[in-house]
């Protein structure tokens, strides 16, 4: 009995190299891998639900245009999320300070304990408001750390800071959010 060939999933590095060499399918695969998480990240950062798609598309477009800028110190996802943060900041500036955050069209989860669900939803919305109000580095470090589980070294590489500074930003964010969400 012959063993079936093991199909290895190409790494983000390999896909990026393939795209640089002209393989369009590699770009599509990178988008499939990271676009949904990028959308959730931007939403958590305060993007309006109905603008998330446009912001994701812009971030991905920018990322592929300057793919040579990704040298692999941070993961592709962390690097992409940092670009997403820039896109969100630009959107915020374009609106001249009007906040992007919108809390519309959030369906309440249909779970067994409606009261607990409502409380959880309120906490999440309060948290989203709080996250959106944080200084940019605090916000991005907090989200990369809590939602992606990224280490400080990787976060530092993605955001162009030091691991020590990233740790300090995280603790400032936690302290601030504890006060806001309480």
């Amino acid at each position: 009995m012959s063993a079936s060939p093991v199909l290895e999933t190409p790494s983000d590095h390999e896909l990026a190299s393939a795209y640089r060499a002209g393989d369009e399918r590699a770009a599509a695969e990178l988008v499939r891998r990271h676009a949904p998480a990028l959308g959730r990240y931007l939403y958590s950062s305060g993007a309006a639900a109905d603008e998330v798609e446009d912001l994701v598309q812009e971030a991905l477009f920018r990322a592929f245009r300057r793919l040579d800028g990704w040298r692999g110190e941070a993961s592709f996802r962390s690097w992409l999320f940092a670009i997403g943060g820039n896109v969100l900041r630009d959107e915020f500036r374009r609106r001249k300070g009007r906040h992007v955050l919108s809390l519309e069209d959030r369906d309440l989860p249909d779970r067994a304990d409606p009261e607990a669900d409502l409380a959880a939803t309120e906490t999440e919305e309060g948290l989203r408001r709080g996250i959106a109000s944080l200084p940019r580095l605090q916000r991005e470090v907090f989200l990369l750390r809590t939602q992606q589980g990224s280490g400080y070294t990787e976060i530092a590489a993605a955001l162009g800071t030091t691991a020590g500074a990233a740790r300090v930003h995280y603790h400032h964010a936690v302290k601030r959010l504890k006060e806001l969400v309480r």
Binding site: Q57, T146, V174
Partner: protein, 171 residues
């Protein structure tokens, strides 16, 4: 590093189910209100991530590829535009340079007229009037020995041929 800091560092990993609390950590979490508040925050952030709007990866991939392809085409058009512009400029330059002798024919006398008085000929300054007259007569006279001999003989040949042709017509 304090217990609180250690626990704080481990929270994202445990929230993402990549790790689990040890008995000691769980005991600390149960007794430390500050750590519990942070843990609640991390869990809420995790739930928030899960509750975000969904982005269809296939649609997004198509949209991004379309934008990248459009930009590449625009770049190419831009490059061709520059190349054609450069070619047009080169062609125009070549025309000007190619027509150079013709245009020089028109402009050369004017340049010569204005340039003549500026040419210094100090040798002429020392000559007497008579000597200058002699020199001028020599210049005005036939340039025997200085003209191109080939052109003279060529003219003679042409005259002879014409006479021969007329003779044949006249019979």
């Amino acid at each position: 590093m304090s217990d609180c800091e250690r626990l704080s560092d481990r929270m994202p990993e445990v929230a993402l189910l990549r790790a689990a609390w040890s008995a000691e950590e769980a005991a600390h979490l149960a007794s430390c209100a500050d750590c519990r508040a942070e843990w609640d925050l991390v869990l809420a952030a995790h739930r928030l991530e899960a509750s975000g709007p969904s982005v269809d990866p296939a649609t997004m991939a198509a949209a991004v590829q379309h934008r990248l392809a459009s930009e590449r085409m625009a770049d190419r058009r831009g490059r061709w535009g520059w190349a054609l512009g450069g070619l047009a400029a080169a062609a125009a330059l070549a025309l000007v340079v190619g027509r150079g002798p013709e245009s020089r024919q028109g402009t050369a006398p004017a340049v010569a007229v204005t340039a003549d008085p500026l040419v210094p000929l100090p040798e002429l300054e020392g000559l007497e009037t008579a000597q200058l007259d002699t020199l001028l007569q020599a210049l005005d006279g036939p340039l025997a020995g200085t003209s191109a001999p080939d052109s003279t003989t060529a003219d003679d040949d042409v005259d002879a041929e014409l006479e021969q042709l007329l003779a044949t017509w006249e019979g």
